[in-house]
Amino acid sequence: MLSRVADSIYWLNRYIERAENVARFIDVNLHLMLDLPAGTTEQWAPLVDTTGDEELFQERYGEATREHVVAFLTFDTDNPNSIYSCLRAARDNARSVREIISSEMWEQVNTFYLMVRDAAAQGRVMAEPHAFFTEVKMASHLFVGITDVTLSHNEGWHFGRLGCMLERADKTSRILDVKYYLLLPHVNDVGTAVDDIQWSAVLRSASAFEMYRKRFGRLRPDRVADFLMLDREFPRAMHYCLMQAEESLHAISGSPLGTFRNLAEQRLGRLRSELDYAQIDEIITNGLHEFLDAFQEKLNHVGAAIFETFVALRPVTEASTLVQGSQMMRTR
């Protein structure tokens, strides 16, 4: 498979997953704000922190009001990580590999893009935000489902899943990071109704509330972290995502699991095995934020190694200047 094609399928899936996650953050926060006691200030800045674009936001909007943040994260074409920008990028990638992916996949990306574009043009999202963000989430799920049942589970499919899983692992870690940091300092709130509401919001933004309840029952911050980070079965848990990503990476290269023949396999395998044997108490004692921060950085290194291994192919006799700009370096 052409390196560029692999790269495009990888990013097509990453961008769709990213759009879905942004919709999750906003939707849950909108709900959360409804439940806060009267007089509490709305918390919108953390959402921008989650996507990592604080500087750009500051520059373009200043104050983190609800309208500003939603506009920035949803339709702002100057924000490369807004839902609209993600869909545009996903569609461009899909178009460039139209003869490789199934026509059903292309149609779904196109329909998804048109839906967001029309919503942006009509400007009615704030009137019925929940309906819109649910639609985004469902359109993403539909894409994943269509991909699963219409594309042969060949090399291209594995590159797609690799992109999707790495993106999801990254976003789950960011949701947890921001909320934990934001919610934990209020010692007085621990165990109160407000605390419960906020933790359930964290879970809901990863569609994890029901599955958490089945596993742990009562809401406890450390268990929420445990579930979202280390669970092996929940599809949005970081650990689960890495296991899936690793499976795809090895399907692509043909190396047996547990071994490595390239940098991408080495880095991803190491990161996954860290989670295999990690314990939540230890992580919290040593600093959850530090752990998550390091996780995100290592994940970026995995992305860079995938790029180096499969895309940035250089003839040995030539300098690296031949490689033209790729999206691979745009992690996060």
């Binding site: 052409l2 560029r4 692999a6 461009d92 460039s96 090399e155 499969f310 895309v311 030539e318």
Partner: protein
């Protein structure tokens, strides 16, 4: 829907001899259409459009940022070319391509045709599409123009003319193949009885031709289609042809030159490429040889090509024969190389660098069509009878300023074919672009793209300027009973 009110006055009609009498090859189709229940033809037209939409048959419009993809308008009534007309067209095209290939080969080598005084040297030197780096080049198997899409038109008296040769990267063949898929479903019975010649084997023939170009040392050649990328207006076609041939669609950045060969970057390492069907203009092929600002091409590609280690189709440099001033010399070119008269005539052409001809042109701007020597796609032309006097005056100044760059031709009364306009038929002007492959031998695809100027009275059939298309049925003989 009936043809009773259909008006053929003033033009050659492709389907009817007179208002009431269809041509021999069309009679069956006309009869069938008129027998359809009311509303049925419109339903089939809509079904055909829906099918094209679902197949994703679209083209991009330059300079249109929002929703750059459009459906190429399609009319469900096929254009029929009778067997006797086709015999002439096929012979004429083979003759023309053979002569033009010899001409290009000569121009980049000994230039006998210049030394013998047939074509003036300054016309070659001043041609924008003459490529200095190609001088002395011997392309694989001696062929330059592997894929040609010649534009043919018919005048009021039924005479067929060659309008343009299109020897560089002609597009549109994907519509020929897709239109046919749709039409087979639209008129299955008439199609069968009409003895329409098939076009579906074009991708296989194209692939055979491309493989034939591979260096002798290669047993299983790797052939790729090179596209400028998704923003190119013909991107759909590039992807379609690659898919139909089962080969990779690559962009310039997928290819790399090293150790004297061209390779593509794959997830498993570098893989050697032997033949490139490039849909990228000469200028952009290789920044080291041609335009240095090209980001679409492959640095070093031309050197590998010159060394015979990769084949390019078409060869760089064929544009010299697309120059509209050189076009005027094609009858002489055919006579010079083949010793024959042209089977398909040129449209009479005035070259403005010649003082006498220029004076005639400037004095008759209101009767002529003026064209720029190096443009295609219907850009930069002026249709004298349809232009305002201010536009004509401005064009006259441009001609006087750079006479070499302009030609003029009489305004042809292009033939018409019926199209569906709301609930009835109206005649619209059409042309025909057959596709010719030149590999081991010259092959003319029995079919082609019929382009229709959908705007009433318009003579411009280009897709970028409001044109649409029809399926083209080349008949093997007279139709059977249905």
């Amino acid at each position: 829907m009936q043809f009773t009110a259909y008006d053929t006055a003033g033009f050659f009609d492709e389907m009817f001899e007179t208002d009431a009498h269809p041509r021999v090859g069309s009679a069956l189709l006309v009869q069938r259409i008129q027998a359809l229940p009311a509303g049925e033809l419109l339903r089939r037209q809509r079904a055909a459009e829906q099918a094209l939409l679902q197949m994703g048959i679209t083209f991009n419009v330059y300079g249109d940022a929002a929703g750059t993809e459009r459906i190429f308008p399609f009319d469900v009534i096929p254009r029929i070319v009778e067997a006797s007309d086709w015999v002439l067209i096929e012979r004429g095209l083979k003759q023309r391509i053979q002569a033009l290939n010899l001409f290009i080969d000569d121009i980049y080598q000994a230039q006998h045709i210049i030394h013998d005084g047939i074509v003036p040297a300054f016309l070659i030197q001043s041609a924008k599409c003459f490529l200095q780096p190609c001088v002395g080049l011997r392309p694989p198997r001696g062929v330059w123009c592997h894929i040609t899409g010649t534009d043919l038109v018919r005048d009021r008296d039924g005479q067929i003319y060659v309008l343009e040769d299109n020897l560089r990267c002609p597009s549109g063949v994907s519509y020929v193949l897709e239109n046919r898929q749709v039409l087979k479903r639209t008129f299955p019975q008439v199609f069968e009885a009409s003895r329409v010649r098939p076009v579906d084997d074009y991708p296989s023939r194209l692939l055979d031709m491309l493989q034939y170009l591979a260096p002798d040392s290669v047993t299983v050649p790797t052939v790729v289609v090179l596209t400028p990328g998704i923003h190119n207006s013909a991107y759909f076609e590039h992807a379609f042809l690659a898919q139909q041939m089962g080969i990779e669609l690559v962009e310039g950045r997928d290819l790399v030159v090293t150790d004297g060969f061209v390779f593509m970057r794959t997830t498993k390492g570098l893989q050697r490429v032997d033949v490139i069907y490039r849909r990228l203009d000469d200028d952009f092929l290789d920044p080291l040889t041609f335009r240095s600002d090209s980001l679409l091409g492959v640095p070093g590609l031309f050197e590998v090509y010159k060394a015979g280690r990769v084949a390019l189709a078409n060869a760089p440099g064929t544009g010299i024969a697309d120059d509209k001033v050189i076009y005027a010399y094609v009858p002489k070119i055919i006579r010079y190389y083949l010793g024959e008269d042209s089977i398909l005539p040129n449209v009479p052409t005035y070259v403005c660098w010649d003082d006498t001809e220029r004076k005639h042109v400037v004095a008759n701007l209101d009767k002529l069509v003026m064209k720029v020597a190096n443009e295609s796609g219907g850009y930069g032309m002026l249709i004298g009878p349809h232009a305002s006097s201010a536009e004509r005056a401005e064009f006259a100044e441009r001609i006087q300023a750079a006479p070499r760059n302009y030609i003029a031709q009489p305004t042809l009364a292009l033939s018409r074919a019926p199209v569906i306009v709301e609930d009835h038929f109206e005649g619209r002007h059409v042309d025909l672009r057959p596709y010719i492959l030149y590999g081991q031998e010259i092959y003319v695809l029995p079919g082609g793209l019929t382009r229709v100027a959908l705007r009433k009275g318009s003579l411009v059939v280009n897709s970028s300027q409001g044109g649409g298309s029809k399926d083209t049925w080349v008949l093997a003989g007279e139709p059977n009973a249905c």
